[in-house]
């Protein structure tokens, strides 16, 4: 793919850009050029559709998944609307036009047609893939107390700890299974946070979504373990359209982890996921993401297009939704995990680290929509740009007339490494209630040669010095992540970043 590294025609006043030269540091240059370490392709027989998108495609997917009529209609409604929509162009990302007819919209690992009942039945090659990723499913599940609903391409292949969760009435399963086993819950909440017509990519997802995860936490239950899904895009030229729905009933708590890596390949892969969260009275949802999809090579060839719609509704009083994301992968990231603070005294949080290196582009941020009284939101965004990476924070804080005493605190920091990258900040603030309090802080800094030298002088090599500085920069976000995820995030940052002051 070709990405632009030159300046956009219109540059807003709040844009920070580094054009001045920093003294060359060959060591750091080397570090930035590190290859993607986890590039490999698993060969599993695919049961896939030929490329193309029409009503027939939608019907095929729905039939393949033996869906009820109402869901087919729901998909078709989305598809018909999508046909009337235009791909958004407002984001500060540049990529060649996507031919939606050249994408295959369904792929399922054949060996799982009947669905594995245990890990023994899971394709050994798939398990080997997880091994390579350093996440041996069984071990991880057993040792870390994490129930893993592994999504491999489009069909869930393994679900663990289901029994234990079941005793508490917690539902944690693939989306397809939820449609079969809990249709009333799915029907009630599906599309209730991100409607079919919400945006171009969400509408596409609604029409062709393949599978995903479903979570329901009953009243008053605190989920005793972190729920985790590993997404992995594998089939060549196949769009990935995951659908996640998490419902936390009154007084319940859940922490959900989403993480992924992807095999290396040349074609760009479109990913348009939708995640919906619903928190009822006094419920809390913590949603953590560590995203490491293939970012493309040094020259900007290949890499995932990640156009994701993530939104949570704090429907109940005193409910809380917290998004934490560490985005290091993808060629293009278009993602705004948001909170609709509907219930009085509800709380929304967004903690983000987005890193762009080489030719990566990220336009990411959040929306905090304050509707209820005494609603509070916090936004902490850390953007790191290296190589020719372009990193944009785009965030909206909206306080409606009904939102008495609403409060928001936003902090957007950018760290620049090198002379060819860019950092941009677009805050949108809309306040219709005079009792609202907003605070917005922003900073842009360059990783300093003086900082690196200082750490060198204390015995640290340049690579370690840079990692230490970057991890320090991201600390406020990392401390929001569950422990093991935080460790993973630091490693990822070290690998993906590696470098660039040069």
């Amino acid at each position: 793919m070709s990405t632009r590294s030159d300046a956009p025609d219109l540059e807003p006043a709040s844009t920070a850009r580094v054009s001045d030269r920093v003294a060359r540091n060959p060591e750091i240059d080397d570090l930035t050029r590190k290859d993607y370490e986890w590039g490999f392709v698993t060969d599993i027989e695919q049961d896939s559709l030929p490329p193309g998108l029409s009503e027939d495609t939608v019907r095929f997917i729905s039939a393949k998944k033996q869906e009820p009529e109402w869901l087919l209609e729901w998909r078709l409604k989305a598809y018909r609307h999508w046909c009337t929509m235009k791909e958004p162009t407002w984001a500060l990302v540049h990529y060649p036009a996507i031919d939606y007819q050249s994408i295959s919209y369904y792929a399922a690992p054949k060996s799982n047609k009947d669905g594995p009942k245990s890990l023994d039945e899971v394709d050994p090659e798939l398990l080997a893939t997880y091994e390579k990723l350093g996440i041996p499913l069984a071990e991880r599940a057993a040792l870390a107390g994490v129930a893993v609903d592994a999504v491999f391409d489009s069909v869930s292949v393994a679900t663990t700890f289901k029994g234990k969760l079941g005793e508490l009435g917690i539902i944690f399963c693939s989306f397809s299974e939820a449609v079969r086993e809990h249709p009333e819950l799915v029907r009630k909440y599906l599309g209730s946070v991100v409607p079919q017509k919400d945006n171009f990519f969400a509408a596409l997802n609604c029409a062709v979504f393949s599978d995903g995860s479903f979570v329901y936490i009953p009243k008053g239950v605190r989920c005793p373990m972190e729920l985790s899904t590993y997404f992995r895009i594998n089939a060549a030229n196949t769009g990935q359209f995951e659908r996640t729905l998490i419902v936390a009933d009154e007084g319940s708590h859940v922490s959900y982890l989403e993480g992924c890596t992807a095999p290396m390949r040349d074609e760009n892969q479109l990913h348009a996921a939708v995640v919906e969260l619903v928190a009822l009275d006094d419920a809390q949802i913590k949603y953590s993401t560590v995203q490491n999809w293939y970012p493309g090579d040094k020259n900007g060839v290949g890499g995932i297009y990640n156009f994701v719609t993530k939104r949570g509704a704090c429907r109940g009083r005193r409910s809380k939704i917290s998004w934490t994301q560490v985005e290091t992968g993808s060629a293009i990231t278009w993602k705004y995990p948001s909170c609709i603070l509907q219930g009085d005294d509800s709380v929304g949080e967004f903690y983000s680290v987005a890193l762009t290196n080489h030719h990566q582009q990220a336009d990411t941020g959040t929306k905090m929509i304050h509707i209820g009284k005494n609603t509070r939101s916090t936004i902490i965004s850390k953007g790191i740009s290296a190589g020719r990476g372009q990193n944009t924070y785009r965030g909206q804080v909206k306080m409606l007339a009904s939102a008495h005493n609403a409060r928001n605190y936003s902090q957007c920091d950018s760290l620049l490494m090198g002379d060819a990258c860019g950092a941009h900040t677009f805050p949108y603030i809309e306040v219709r209630n005079p009792s609202a309090h907003l605070e917005h802080e922003a900073s842009t800094s360059k990783i300093g040669e003086d900082q690196i030298f200082y750490l060198n002088q204390r015995g640290l090599g340049t690579e370690d010095a840079v990692n230490l500085i970057v991890n320090g920069f991201c600390k406020e976000v990392f401390r929001e992540l569950p422990m093991e995820f935080a460790v993973e995030a630091q490693k990822l940052l070290a690998v993906s970043l590696e470098g660039a002051v040069g």
Partner: protein, 261 residues
Amino acid sequence: MTNEKTPLLQVQGIHASAGGKSILKGLDLVVNPGEVHAIMGPNGSGKSTLARVLTGHQDVEVTGGEVLYKGQPLLDLAPEERAREGLFLAFQYPVEIPGVTNNTLLREGLNAMRVHRGEEELDAIDFLKIVKRKADLLEMDHMMLGRAVNHGFSGGEKKRNEILQMLVLEPTLAILDETDSGLDIDALKVVAQGVNALRASQRSFVVITHYQRLLDYIVPDFVHVLANGRIVKSGPKELAHELEAKGYAWIDEAVAGAPQS
């Protein structure tokens, strides 16, 4: 003073420039193990450039001369390699590193040096014991250990923090670049106490200062006057008092009268 042994540091005819401007013009200096050398001189005479040459700062270009450290060429080593060989600089302007705690920096630094020496890395508990003991020596609140490196520190706190790092890393050659600037007299005494606690027969110090005041507390074996990129006068500790009384002007006159090399 063990002059029959290999000097710890031999600076031989160093010429160095920064930003295209020639600053050091044939500087010589020999430091033996266990010695404390004070380098004094007016602003712009090249004191900090000398510190940068020795530690390998990227903004300084060495255009001539040689430096031997422990008898080996120093200038080819990367800054971190010099540090691991026991060369320490207490910065004139300590750098802030947001989000990285003092503890983290000190542990990473100390362990990098231990690994370099073929020793085992310290675990968190042993490490904390050491650091807390050193902090006590400098009358530093342990809370400072959990704060981000120099971030939001006062000038005096930063300087004290440099000395804490020195105490933890236990260098073989410590260069103190105007550590006294910005310190009140009480803080100065505490800092000097920290330095003196580290004085040992195999450890040397190069104390760069503008004022004689610090040398009342860190008593040097030798005092050198740096002017116009060269050491123009060396002497015992009393030379510092002479400078204090007469100022640097007489040195300038002396240099002006001397034949150029």
